[in-house]
Symmetry: C2
Subunit: 251 residues, 2 copies
Amino acid sequence: MTYCIVVSVKEGLVLTSDSRTNAGIDNVSVHRKMHALSTLPDRTIVLLSAGNLATTQAVIDQLVKDMHERATPNLNSVTSLVEAAEYLGGMSVKKQNRHVNAGQNGFFPAATFILAGQIGHMAHGAYLIYPEGNYITTSIHTPYLQIGEIKYGKPVLDRFLKNDTGLHEAGRCCLISMDSTMRSNVSVGPPVDLLLYRKDSFNLENYYCFAEDDNYLIQLRRQWHEKLKESFATLPPFCSEDKQTLACHEA
Amino acid sequence: MTYCIVVSVKEGLVLTSDSRTNAGIDNVSVHRKMHALSTLPDRTIVLLSAGNLATTQAVIDQLVKDMHERATPNLNSVTSLVEAAEYLGGMSVKKQNRHVNAGQNGFFPAATFILAGQIGHMAHGAYLIYPEGNYITTSIHTPYLQIGEIKYGKPVLDRFLKNDTGLHEAGRCCLISMDSTMRSNVSVGPPVDLLLYRKDSFNLENYYCFAEDDNYLIQLRRQWHEKLKESFATLPPFCSEDKQTLACHEA
């Protein structure tokens, strides 16, 4: 499976992804799901991908080919992120539709993407592109998008991410969310990619790749676990006086 | 939807359930999902239910009728929890199979149960009974079972529940797990039922029902949130020296 998050806050973007792919539980590999694309200097575009690996690779190959051949449109010709999302959505549907046997014998070519970045003087942002080709973006109230195994790691994002959360803080929040997910679903696994994009910077310099035995990740995981244990130990007990009677189904 | 948990530890059992049911997002009701059954004094049997409400009600009615008519088997005649699980599984399948139109027009009669309790001198325990009628129990390594919307609240159970966790502590852990789930899925909602069963007690005296505006639940939720925020604020930053280069897909 996969777990990817993009956070879009005032200061910029935070992208996080795991690297485990599997074609069946007995066929597990490591593939990066964070794809930076070498576009013109006036734009930064990064994709995160989930779903069928052949589809995601086909889509990325086509994006690169379209840029190289200056096709209309391509990632260098689009004038906004929403135009890029529309273009990517259409391409993803086309790649999926090549398969007439979709849905048979457990074969599903569906793929889901998050496209994040900034183009020219426009605001940075992120779009989640569904397998059907349609897409959504973030809101001030929900400043993040997730794809893949989204549930285990969602509560912590809901608790801590606000529009004015700093990039490093949002990055730690994503790593905690990723850790909860990796604990609960073995098909989500390291290395964990993390990219902080400061708005208007148009660079990919703040990139980190955390292996399973990375000291920082181990420290973060331990400290979070210990702090949670301490917090849990201080929770107030419920009162015996609040006991009620549980009605029985009488035979 | 539904979220129910049973924890089976050395000291006994902890059962937790929400009370929100929905037949479509525009048809939401309150139904208790914790069902105590008035059995003979040598046994305590409590069910938690998820899935189709008509099926769960039909199953519980039949369980009660079978006890009343002293059918073979019934919950008073079974000599172990596993026998009770087998009997319940068969009955659930029968109730579901009455519907020839299952799977059509979005109609699914499937229901899932957890049967928990103690019979005579045997150990207390819990069984999760799938819609197909088969069942599983807990292990020392995973001392809990969940049904319904299980993912949001699972990480906290994995972190804190051990075989030697006390009943009150396990109860607080379940309430935290329930809170995370209610925050993330509006189809899971209060009142929250909580039952602590001390092994060999054969009573249902330690029962609590927490309404949405229950003072204890509000206090628990606030304190947990504040403690998590404090813990999050102390997490170590990642070092700028660990930055790497993110390879680009070149056009």
